[in-house]
């Protein structure tokens, strides 16, 4: 009998070892990617070999190769430009088959075995870089359609599709439309509108959110549910108003617009902000139900409904308080007025530059990187680059740039693209110090969706695996103690010299222990079968900043 159990135990242990060995390596650590990891492009045949042997990584390899070429190859050569364009176009072509995820965190957490389609910021950057190369070739029609795609791709995985908060996409679109003959004036106006709104979004969000925080800090009832909900919704509303309210709107109108939109967000809370709601409000409602003595399902539902019904009223209060604060808090008022002015003048400068026949862009720095953390590597943290602008603001600096049409290599793998329209003056090779604005800050884009930090953790699968492991541990110990008890009973029977009839309870306990072992083992194996590790594939060679001479 004991032998039989020993066999079962051994089979179980071997099973575990076999499954434990079935873990997959991070793609990026595979030896064929070593040159790309160092930023060196691969030979064409090696790239093809990678793509053929692992089709799920084809887009990953194409993008790494494209950016490695951008960083090291002679960009002036038309063949290099063509090669980069083709690689980027291959990748961009696959973004269409991307299925909408249930929510943002799940979109963020594609595991290693799925076809690589990049993270939202990687897709947007890929498509806009492709547009830049097409613009350099004078292919404005195709460039415009890719830029529209970039706008869509950026908005696609936002919780509420507002458009893109990147003035870079709209500025390129505006220039392209001016260079292309017969562009629809409405289309040009739309691109200009996009520049103004996205610049406003980046320059005004910090002072407005600061005002909101100041009010929350003095609130009399910060822990009231509908009030909490109202602050959460108001923050979303501010972002929405900054990117969507008419350009002529002054600060008071923007706040009124945010208040007006609160109802839309309240109704979308369940579907679009489920995680935040669960994390921030559901525990408070549950606890409050205990305070009221309504701690059943209906009671919790009733309190949640009450909070939802009152939230519009609380949002109005917050709006009124912000307006009050703007009138009486002179330092905050000055800060916001300065931001409004800076937003207007910057938009005007960007549009003026994008109306010229020559558009000068600079790509600098190494983009963000990815780090995996947690017991199962289930946490994918995007690490901003050292040179990243972590604030929602547009940086400006003077960049010495060669102003001759075409591509020019700059420091540390960077390059400048001097895009010349059909009527541009062809200047000689000549470096000028050009004031430039950072219209795309990739680390910021990678970490935030329209101003809001998003989830980094692959919660579901990691929690499932942790739960199976905990259960297995408890089960294993229980089985061990049951075996022990059974053995003690048998020893007692032997000591007392009683017959086999005395063994019956011990066998019964061992049977239970056996069932526990089988059950525990199954649970453990199911847990091991799930791989909660976050996707390691990340395009670390992208540029941190896209600057436009203004």
């Amino acid at each position: 009998m004991t032998k039989k159990y020993a066999h079962i135990f051994l089979i179980f242990v071997f099973g575990q070892l076999i499954f434990a060995g079935c873990t997959t390596d991070a793609t990026i650590r595979r030896h064929e990617y070593a040159p790309l990891l160092a930023g060196v492009p691969l030979e064409k045949n090696i790239l093809e070999k990678i793509k053929t042997s692992s089709p799920k990584d084809a887009v990953f390899a194409d993008l790494l190769q494209a950016f490695a070429l951008m960083r090291t190859a002679q960009l002036q050569k038309p063949t290099v430009q063509k090669e980069i364009s083709e690689l980027l176009a291959n990748a961009a072509g696959t973004f269409d088959d991307l299925r909408d995820p249930v929510n943002f965190s799940k979109a963020f957490s594609i595991d290693e075995d799925k076809d690589f389609r990049g993270r939202p910021h990687e897709r947007v950057f890929t498509v806009t870089m492709l547009a830049v190369f097409l613009m350099a070739q004078g292919n404005y029609d195709l460039a415009i359609s890719y830029l529209r795609n970039a706008e869509f791709l950026d908005a696609r995985f936002q919780k509420l599709p507002f458009g893109t908060d990147s003035p870079y996409v709209y500025a390129l679109m505006y220039w392209c439309l001016h260079q292309r003959k017969g562009s629809d004036p409405q289309e040009i106006e739309r691109a200009a509108d996009g520049v103004k709104k996205s610049v406003r979004f980046l320059t005004l969000q910090e002072p407005l959110v600061k005002a909101l925080i100041k009010i929350a800090e003095v609130d009399l009832r910060p822990m009231a549910i509908s009030n909490r909900l109202a602050y959460m919704i108001f923050e979303i509303s501010i972002y929405h108003s900054l990117i969507s309210a008419p350009n002529q709107a002054d600060i008071t109108s923007l706040i009124d617009d945010a208040v007006k939109n609160a109802e839309i967000f309240t109704s979308a809370l369940d579907s679009n902000f489920e995680d935040e709601y669960k994390e921030r409000l559901a525990p408070v409602i549950k606890e409050l139900a205990h305070v009221y003595g309504l701690n059943n399902k209906e009671g919790v539902k009733h309190l949640a409904e009450l909070a939802f019904n009152k939230v519009a009223h609380d949002v109005q209060n917050i709006g009124a308080h912000i307006k009050q604060l703007l009138i009486h808090d002179h330092s905050l008022n000055r800060e916001i007025q300065a931001a409004v002015k800076s937003s207007e003048s910057l938009s005007a400068k960007i549009l003026a530059s994008a109306r010229l026949d020559k558009l000068i862009l600079n790509f600098t720095g190494m983009g963000p990187t990815l780090e995996r953390k947690g017991s199962y590597d289930e946490i994918a943290v995007i690490k901003p680059s050292k040179t990243a602008n972590l604030h929602a603001a547009i940086r400006q600096k003077v960049i010495p740039t060669n102003i001759a049409c075409g591509f020019h290599r700059t420091q540390q793998g960077g390059f400048s693209a001097v895009l010349c329209g059909p009527h541009a003056l062809k200047s000689a090779q000549h470096v000028e110090a050009l004031p430039s604005a950072e219209l795309l800050a990739l680390s910021n884009k990678a970490r935030k969706a329209l101003g809001r930090r998003f989830d980094e953790v692959l919660k579901g699968r990691a929690q499932f695996r942790a739960a199976t492991e905990n259960l297995s541990t408890v089960g294993a110990w229980s089985a061990f103690f049951l075996f022990q008890i059974g053995a003690n009973i048998i020893n007692d029977c032997n000591r007392r010299g009683e017959g086999e009839a005395c063994y019956a309870p011990a066998f019964a306990i061992w049977a239970v222990a056996g069932v526990t072992v089988v059950f525990t083992g199954t649970i453990w194996l199911i847990g091991r079968a799930s791989n909660p590790a976050a996707d390691s594939r990340f395009i670390h060679l992208m540029y941190e900043s896209a600057w436009m001479a203004i």
Binding site: E217, V284, L288, L325
Partner: protein, 137 residues
């Protein structure tokens, strides 16, 4: 054997049932973190740090009054989560309904409810505990 188990159960039962005074103190010495209240130091710091903005938004409302009302609400909230005798529970439920409903509803209602509850038996008892807390700290 069964007598021992019975006595142990009684001890556990009686130790779970605290007095109203102890329940009023629970907010200042919490055994666990409650998600519906901020801790006393946090409340004081929050109210004292932003005097200028508070004045802009709430006018001449005194900080003592704000802290007193927030503490009273928080004491009642935490006490409501404790095990109490039936009588104390009933008394606490009465004031908790007044206070919490107003707290959840509106600033003005909350301040009025605070004045009303302050004059009740629970309000006076919890007020004393607040005073002791301030004396100690």
């Amino acid at each position: 054997m069964s007598a021992k188990i019975f006595i142990a159960a009684c001890v556990v039962f009686l130790s779970n049932c605290m007095s109203l005074k102890d329940a009023g103190r629970a907010y200042f010495n919490p055994r666990k973190n409650y998600v519906g209240v901020q801790n006393p130091q946090e409340v004081i710091q929050r109210i004292e740090n932003n005097k200028k903005i508070r004045h802009i938004i709430y006018g001449s409302l005194k900080e003592d009054k704000i802290i007193e009302c927030i503490f009273l609400r928080n004491q009642i909230y935490v006490a409501s989560l404790m095990s109490l005798s039936k009588e104390d529970k009933r008394e606490l439920k009465r004031v908790s309904e007044i206070m919490e409903q107003a707290y959840q509803f509106d600033d003005q209602d909350f301040l009025q409810a605070c004045d009303q509850v302050k004059n009740s038996h629970v309000g006076r008892l919890f007020g004393e505990i607040q005073n002791n807390y301030f004396e100690r700290s």
